[in-house]
Amino acid sequence: MSWKMKRIEEQTYYEILEVSPDATAKEIQRAYEHAKETFHTDSLAVYSLFSEEEVKRIQTVIEEAYRVLMDEALRKQYDESHFQAIESQKWEKSLEIEEAPREKRAPSLIFTDLSADTSEGEYRGKALKVIREKMGIDLKTISQETRINAKVLQWIEEEVVEKLPALVYLKGFLRAYAQSLGLDPQKVIEEYLTSVGQTKKVK
């Protein structure tokens, strides 16, 4: 949940170089050159923000990240030992690549792959939450991508019917939420509304 507010020491090598965990060697090379240029001792962009010691520390980490990620064996080893951090970064990163088309940003996972607990009906709020958490995405991230208030997303997940917005907005929110998880929006909307409608009539 610390989400983006990570100290240098807490960042994965991919985050250090600002590349996605599935970056090619070419992309890593380019990112390394950019990072090196940015944190160059004479760089205009850093001297007034970071102390000299901080810059040196970052330079060292950049070199280390580059050394490991450019070596296939070392990278594999690193990926295995940092599996969790890297998985969650996949999500954060994918949202930040500015020009990436939406289709590419959507996850390839489908609902059945995740064997979410559907005993309470398919896409109930709880099931959406389970899927989201299995993907390692926090609500803030979804909120940022969909521009839906995190509180509203939480109400949707918890099915706080009295707080849910009017139907027309709820549908829009569900659609955006479903898309951000890579789920079928139509299916999510239908099943969610049926499920919630049974609990209490939606406005």
Partner: protein, 312 residues
């Protein structure tokens, strides 16, 4: 806050950046002209406290009515001080010529002005800010979630921009509904020589966490919502352009924020010529390189999502 009903189509962009002479008014004027060509209503607001001259960039004499008249309640609404320009769909709200110096602007007046700006009817509202880090300038900048920093690729300009960003960043955190103890920590963080050794936002969140986990979460998530933009002005070389990306990376590492590099504007003699003629570049020489750069930036703004509005 999410997307608010009814105001979905309005976007407010505030243009600041710390240093005078970086090109804020030039950029505000010309982006405004680009956006007005989309056939939608655009309002330019000159919020340069004490140094208002957006009218000059538009080739208009100092208008008889300005923000001063609204602040002194000589007119009931902001609409009463809106003046037309020679550009269709583009209106100007001229800056205060006398009053509203940073020190004079009372908080009540400022809040009234901010609220009135947000109620103005227009598709795009561009607010040109003055130089410096006064609280008034910061509050205007923070009116939009997507304030635009205008920076030139020079050490002094970048330094000031960081100082401005730091001030805006902490000012924003200060406005959060957090405990008094946490707020005091934010205040301490603003003083770089603070006793606790809080040197950056990471340290601050760590310190706040010791006070309250909830407050720390609030601060961290607010950081994630802060999306300022960067325009690099007067670039002369490819290396200059790359400084923009470096600034973005530095902000990410230091603040944990995503500074969106909106674009750059090349150094172009035509800019100076147009200003001297008191004719906006987009009208005087739309084919010039700098005008093309401005158009690119404007189209990015037009295609971006509407900004949410922050009102206390």
């Amino acid at each position: 806050m999410g997307s608010t009903q009814g105001e979905d189509r309005k976007a407010i962009w505030t243009i600041g950046g710390g240093k005078g002479g970086s090109g804020k008014s030039f950029i505000t004027t010309n982006i405004g002209i680009c956006l007005s060509k989309l056939g939608v209503r655009v309002i330019l607001i000159d919020a340069d406290l004490g140094g208002a001259n957006l009218h000059t960039f538009l080739g208009i004499s100092p208008p008889p009515l300005s923000l001063s008249d609204f602040i002194k309640k000589r007119v009931p609404t902001l609409n009463d001080v809106l003046i037309p320009t020679s550009v269709p769909n583009l209106q100007l709200l001229s800056g205060a010529q006398d009053l509203l110096n940073a020190a004079d602007a009372k908080n009540v007046q400022k809040q009234r002005l901010l609220r009135s700006i947000q109620k103005l009817e227009a598709e795009y509202i561009l607010v040109d800010l003055g130089a410096g880090n006064s609280l008034s300038v910061l509050d205007f900048f923070l009116m939009s979630d997507g304030g635009i920093l205008v920076v030139t690729p020079e050490p002094t300009s970048i330094e000031n921009a960081y100082r401005f960003l730091k001030s805006a960043f902490y000012r924003r955190l200060r406005q959060l509904p957090i405990s008094l103890d946490a707020r005091n920590l934010v205040d301490e963080a603003m003083d770089s020589k603070n006793e606790r050794g809080i040197q950056n936002p990471h340290d601050l969140i760590g310190a706040v966490r010791n006070v309250s986990e909830d407050d720390a979460m609030r601060v961290a998530s607010e950081v994630g919502r802060f999306h300022p933009n960067l325009v690099l002005n007067q670039v002369r070389t490819k290396k200059d352009i790359e400084i923009g990306f470096s600034i973005r990376t530095a902000c990410k590492k230091y603040f944990g924020i995503h500074l969106h590099y909106l674009g750059y504007i090349v150094y172009d003699q035509d800019v100076g010529n147009s200003i001297r003629k008191r004719r906006p570049l987009l009208l005087e020489n739309p084919q010039s390189k700098a005008a093309q750069c401005v158009s690119d930036i404007a189209s990015k703004l037009a295609n971006s999502q509407p900004k949410t509005f922050r009102l206390e």
